[in-house]
């Protein structure tokens, strides 16, 4: 168990190191950092001074060590575009992205499980078939088209919900939240649906498949024989056992939700990290791109690591198979 955890942790560190090298090479070799900082009429001597002050004369290995040391302290340099430290830009926009991602995940879980259970229990009803069709569309339509469709329906035509921004936000310490104001909550609805729709279809299909599988097992038949109500069998026994893989998938998908927020945030002009990243790509703001890559990788690697370790805690059967040398 301990050996497994350690091996996984070392692997995770290896991945982060590799991503760090990519991020550093982007920062260092894709375009000359000095050119991005100085203006056109800066003299050669001044350029040299800037180069020296940034430490670009040192050996590459030294530079990489320093870059990694700084990144570990969340210092990612200064944005070319905004002339502000990247870390404060990211910190400012992180609450918006996290709130959106969490709301989208909750939306996907609640409706995905409900629709999945329904379409498993009442397989041949019209509603279940509609759910299946919706899930096919949810997988086939690109996220941004769904966002535009929702904006056209609920903002332009009906005028019920705002089409851009976070609405009014309240500052709680360094965190800004839109959950405490009415306009903030209203602004959250459309982006959460847009972002969560893909996860919803995924969870719905998974719950449906798992439910159908579980309902065929012996212990469900035995529960029926014991004379339990169908309600107790479906929700007390069957659903409970389908939830483990569902929560795992939802957990693993959380990283993708944050990454896919890039698209949703652009459609809804949501002031989060994803929008910052897209603007950085458009304006070739390498420090922001490199920092975003590191941040997202850290989130991905952490989630994968935690899920891997939790698996062995939750499911003892896995432990014996893990003892085999890899």
């Amino acid at each position: 168990m301990l050996a497994f955890t350690l091996r996984r942790a070392i692997q995770a560190i290896g991945v982060m190191l590799a991503v760090g090298i990519i991020s550093f090479s982007m920062f260092r070799f894709a375009g000359d950092p000095v050119n991005q900082i100085v203006s056109l009429d800066t003299s050669a001597a001044e350029r040299e001074a800037v180069r020296k002050s940034l430490g670009l004369d040192d050996p590459v290995v030294m530079q990489f060590a320093r870059y990694f040391g700084n990144a570990a302290q969340f210092k990612f340099g200064v944005s070319y575009q905004f002339r502000q430290p990247v870390s404060s830009l990211l910190a400012e926009r992180m609450p918006a992205t996290l709130e959106l991602a969490i709301c989208a995940t909750i939306f996907a879980m609640v409706f995905g499980i409900l629709m999945g259970v329904y379409s498993a229990l009442k397989r041949d009803t019209a509603l279940a078939k509609i759910f299946q069709a919706v899930s096919l569309i949810g997988i086939s339509l690109p996220t941004f088209l769904i966002g535009i469709l929702l904006i056209y329906l609920f903002s332009v035509t009906l005028g019920w919900l705002p089409s851009f921004g976070r609405g009014e936000v309240v500052r709680v310490g360094w965190w800004t939240t839109g959950l405490l104001t009415l306009s903030g909550l209203k602004a959250l609805i459309l982006p959460s649906i847009t972002l969560g729709l893909f996860q919803l279809t995924l969870i719905m299909r998974l719950v449906r498949a798992e439910m159908l599988e579980v309902l065929r097992t012996d212990y469900i038949r035995f529960a029926r024989a014991r004379g339990l109500t169908t309600r107790a069998i479906h929700f007390g026994h069957a659903l409970k056992n389908t939830l483990v893989p569902v929560i795992t998938v939802a957990g693993l998908q959380f990283g993708s939700v944050i990454a896919f927020a890039i698209i949703t945030e652009t459609v809804f002009q949501w002031p989060g990290m994803g929008l910052l990243f897209v603007q950085a790509v458009q304006n070739v703001d390498i420090p922001i791109m490199a920092a975003y890559l590191l941040m997202v990788s850290l989130i991905f690697v952490t989630i994968n690591l935690v899920v891997d370790i939790l698996y062995t805690v939750v499911d003892p059967r896995l432990r014996s198979t893990l003892r085999r040398p890899a």
């Binding site: 991945v15 590799a18 894709a30 690109p142 535009i148 332009v156 390498i286 791109m289 990788s297 994968n304």
Partner: protein, 323 residues
């Protein structure tokens, strides 16, 4: 599998009229074609996909103007609504945008760009993935470990993120003002680099099974060099699953290209793909000019849906377990 367990081959309609010989006859008699004819949805999907490809190929014949040529655009004709509405004007079937560009012509040309990027992206991803998969599976050892480790790591990141990063780095290296053709190449490379993993994994898996079979040993015994054995003998036996992946990946590649263009990191306004058209049209949604964004959106959705349906069918048809 013997003929006895495949009763549909004895269908009366299939027998008499097919006097033709060779591959065409064999194709018509195959299991795949049979399962194709059985599924109406698949036939519709195939017809729609074919229609989209034909529209893209004959874009210059079918359109009323060349939407990329500024000389043919007249501002007088801007923001005309579709033909069947009260303010519609001939020959602008689906209306025009703010530059006086005919939406229908723009869609045809945009479709062409989207499909070119999608197909080339799939070809590039496939070539890269198949090559690396063949090498990993055939050579094994440390090379295999390295390639598959990279694949594992890359698989944890969404393709769109990788494509955006490749795009940003390319812009930084070549300068921010890339012309339209180079942007197209960058997009193909970005998509190829984001989708190679699946091919590599599939090919590696098949190669590891195939390389222990007698025919490979025979090829080695007569002294054929490894690349020839890989390409001519092992590769053809792994083509089924690759075809399925390629079809589904075409839909993904088209989505990725459209998304990149929508985010402003893809095709420029001067040479728009469907994604670019949607980004431009999105700005006019609030002014009530819905047709500028709606029709490119429908075209994109229809294209992706039909390719996906085709891919789903192909996966089931080529999977012997489901027959």
């Amino acid at each position: 599998m013997s003929d006895a367990v495949v009763p549909h081959r004895a269908e009366p309609s299939a027998a008499p009229s097919r006097a033709g010989t060779g591959w065409f006859r064999r194709a018509l008699d195959s299991d795949i074609f049979y399962s194709f004819r059985r599924s109406k949805l698949t036939m519709v999907a195939a017809a729609v996909t074919l229609l989209f490809f034909l529209l893209a190929i004959f874009a210059s014949v079918l359109s009323v103007q060349n939407p990329f040529d500024p000389a043919q655009l007249q501002l007088m004709n801007s923001r005309i609504s579709p033909l069947w509405t009260a303010d519609g004007q001939s020959p602008f079937l689906l209306g025009t945008d703010e530059q006086g560009r005919d939406v229908f012509s723009a869609i045809l040309y945009g479709l062409r760009i989207s499909l070119v990027v999608g197909v080339l992206g799939v070809v590039f991803a496939g070539t890269l993935g198949i090559t690396l998969g063949l090498i990993a599976g055939y050579v094994g050892g440390a090379v295999d470990g390295l390639i598959m480790r990279i694949a594992d790591v890359q698989l944890t990141f969404p393709a769109i993120l990788i494509a955006l990063l490749v795009n940003g780095v390319a812009k930084s290296v070549f300068g921010n003002r890339l012309d339209a053709m180079s942007t197209l190449v960058v997009l193909v490379i970005a998509i190829g680099l984001s989708f190679w993993v699946q091919y590599a994994r599939t090919v590696r898996g098949s190669v590891m099974v195939e390389k222990n079979k007698d025919y490979v040993a025979a090829a080695q015994l007569i002294g054929l060099p490894a690349p020839i054995i890989m390409l001519r003998h092992v590769l053809p036996n792994t083509m089924g699953p690759i075809l399925v992946i390629a079809t589904i990946n075409l839909a993904l590649a088209v989505i990725t290209e459209a998304t990149l263009s929508f985010l402003g990191a893809g095709m420029p306004d001067t040479m728009p793909s469907l994604g670019t058209l949607i980004r431009i049209g999105n700005n006019y949604l609030f002014a009530g000019e819905w047709w500028i964004v709606a029709f490119p959106g429908f075209a994109l959705a229809g294209l992706i849906l039909s390719i996906n349906l085709l891919g789903d069918w192909l996966r089931d048809a080529l999977n012997p377990k489901l027959r």
